[in-house]
Amino acid sequence: MMPTPPASVAEPPSRSVDWPRFLTVLVELLLIATVIFLFEIEQNRHLFPVICLLIAGFAIHACLPQRQRLTCFAALSILCVLFVLGLTNGLVVLAIGGTLIGICYLPGPCKIRLGLIVAAVGVLVILRRQSPLPFWPVVGSMFMFRLISFLYECEKGKTKPHLTWAVSYFFLLPNPCFPFFPVVDFKTFRETWNQKEEWETYQRGISWIVCGLIHLLLYRYLRTNIVPQPYELYDVPHILLFMVTNYALYLQVSGQFHLITGLLHLFGFHLPRTHHHYFLASSFSDIWRRINIYWKDFLSKFVFYPTFYALRARQASAGFALVCSVMLVFLSTWMLHSWQTFWLLGRFPLTINDAALWLGGGAVVAANILLDSRRRDQGHSSVGWAAFSLAARTVGMFLLVSLFWSCWTKPGFLSLLGPAIHRPGATQGLWVVTLWIAAAILLGTLLILGRKRWFSNQSVEIPRDFFTSAKLHLALLGLVIACSLPGSAILLTPGLASAIAKLRTDPATAEVAGGRLQSYYEDLNSAVIQAGPLLNALSPSATARREQAEGFYKVSRPADLYQQLDLIPGIETEIEGKSFSVNVFGMRDRNSLTLNKPHGTIRVAMVGSSIVMGYGVSDDEVFSRELQRRLNEPQTPTAPAVEILNFGVGKQWAPHRLVRIQRKVFGFEPDYLFYFAHQDEFRELASHTAQLVAQRLELPSRHLQEVVARSGVNAEMAPGAIQSRLQRDETELLLAINRTIVDECRSRGILPVWIYLPVPAPAIEDPREKLVALAESAGFVVCDLSAWTTVREGLFDATEEFHPNAAGHQRIADALMQMLRDHRESIPFPTFVPLHQ
């Protein structure tokens, strides 16, 4: 169907709006906006205010005569640019875009236009490299691929499309919010406009928006609750879980793309779907058909088909032409991904890892396609076997794609497998994994058989009319909103209410810093939208909020009730002028640290407070770094290397440290655990335990469970009453925590060392004797460093009550070196500890 040129089609004599349908769609959109607001969906993209703008735009657009609608859409797209980016950056985007569009419309030979475009893009590339200004991701997103499609259609067609089409296409809403945008083909864009009855298109758009929201919430849930942390990737089940959930994070992309194309439906563009049940692909060509379909179509149009037919025109065989075309597609995908990264993030990554993956993947796919084209499907003898075969292929393909994805997004992923297989319990882990896979295949077989049986008795697809769809959407959206309102918590179980409350915020993606921690698409999605002043005032981003935070809150984020807070992995910043960086494992430690212990290395895990973490000093001044440096000073040639792992975190006490040890420390296979205690060791014991009891959460150790049972508290009591009673048993609680740490260390062959490191502060009572007795009773090797200093002068800055300065950290390192010399028998350290500094 040819697109309607604006203002050139005779309008029917009278046209009235279908008010019932119009109001229904409006209500659906308002509920969608409410969900986006309540769940803070894509908050860092300023989605909520933009959705409000688009809803208002839709209301006007739907009431306009047909011939004015495209102009309205173009105007709304331009307004969206200015609204999101602000006047200055917005005008720059429009100016750059206008220049590029203008070149496309120049009269004269095609070669001149192409030459000018190439020159203009070259200039923009240089400017992008030299000045990383905030509008570049938007400019790149709008033109880096769409320019190719537009120019192709312009040169192919007899006449150029009306300028309104060009403006609509390039400044396509909501592109300013989403720099990572589907590659909409210009021909498809035009041909799908007003292709169907408008209300059918609008309702389909609503369906896709709702689908997109579901994907985004699922993504959030997976990211926050299911994806294993880097420090958990030490056994086969966790590694497999990481593989599949890492792939599942692609839900963020499919969610955004559904949202985007759904919004475009509201303005009459009956675009095809961007994704189609991609997790259910059963072969390489099947995944190609289902995932990021617009990208597939773009590469087919501009790489695959031209290459194939060009080779065939040169008398190449079909097989050869097919293989070359597929390889070129994969090569192009690799290069174009880097091209995209350049525009969105300002860097052009070309790594051996990526090259090997994409070209290797291309070779595998090409071989598979060649075999498939030569082999005829014989058909299956039975329905059951066919279902089993399909299920097995689907599970196998899912695992293969997951593996590819993990290798691509986490270079060095394969190196985790070797050590994991050699760890104790690996065989059991492999059996668990095998059972999961078998169960998945069985479940898939049953579902396929059930679906076949169901649909043999029914029509394949039950079409839904406008109002039936609307009712479904309204019911679903209404339910989600109702469950998330504060008052509904009393109607839900505590677990469900808590899960919904947690889902309403997006702490993980907002608080994970650094591109190296995120998958490829999350990395691209981190392209910051620097909103204009108006939008910023309406909805400040998480990044802006973090910049306003001070001190420790700049580098920490909320965690679950057990841990309560954690350091933000990957963050690199300064606190009071001192460098503060956190590695991928959420430790204030080197980025080069690996989960698996290098052969011939001794590891010492240090667990403690903000003093251990090194609050107030730079990364290199923390005493753990200094100690490591001294212990690795050249000694005997056979002396093993020593790694000191810093697990110190501020605002954490004994109960939190126990959980940190269980969750994180043991995965690194330390040989020694140095647990640092100060005068405040009794702090938070009762309150933390009381919270866990009140929330009916499992206590992290049998010893703690026994103490709580003896105290007579239970979840039915008021939290205050629980805490009050547990306060009386603080000593027993601390002893239980100490015993748990010692038991769990000894069972793993780790030597637990308890180190008392008091802060010189006359006003604070010193419970040293009591603490030392508890530590000894629990079975720790006890070291008292009370003598590390008795004065504050020179070791603590005037403004700091508890945190030593750089000189103070040096003194602590001295004390620890002396401790190792004094305790050679109880802490046998294979490396030679010199007698002199």
């Binding site: 194939f308 037919y309 065939r312 079909a318």
Partner: protein
């Protein structure tokens, strides 16, 4: 003059026959590829609307080239989306 007219008519008939043969061939191959009855394939329906993927499409086009003894200069389905349109185009190529 009459000879020229007769020659043109023969050429047109040849092309029509070729187009019919091509249409027949394409319908048969598509039906086999999609494992459906030939009667369900309409000549005025876009070939890509049958759900055939790009790899199978190019394989089919390569077979068509070998069968007809010609080579496409580019992707023929861009300008000739249906079986009917493609058949007419291919018939013209065969004629040349």
């Amino acid at each position: 003059m009459e000879d020229q007219e007769q020659s043109d008519n023969t050429a047109t008939a040849d092309i029509s026959n070729s187009a019919a043969q091509v249409r027949d061939w394409l319908t048969k191959e598509l039906a086999e590829e999609l494992r459906i009855d030939r009667s369900r394939i309409r000549a005025d329906q876009p070939i890509l609307s049958f759900g055939i993927d790009s790899v199978h499409i190019v394989s089919l086009m390569a077979k068509l080239e070998d069968w007809g003894g010609f080579r496409f200069s580019g992707n023929p389905l861009v300008d000739h989306e249906t079986i009917e349109a493609l058949s007419d185009y291919v018939a013209g190529l065969i004629r040349k």
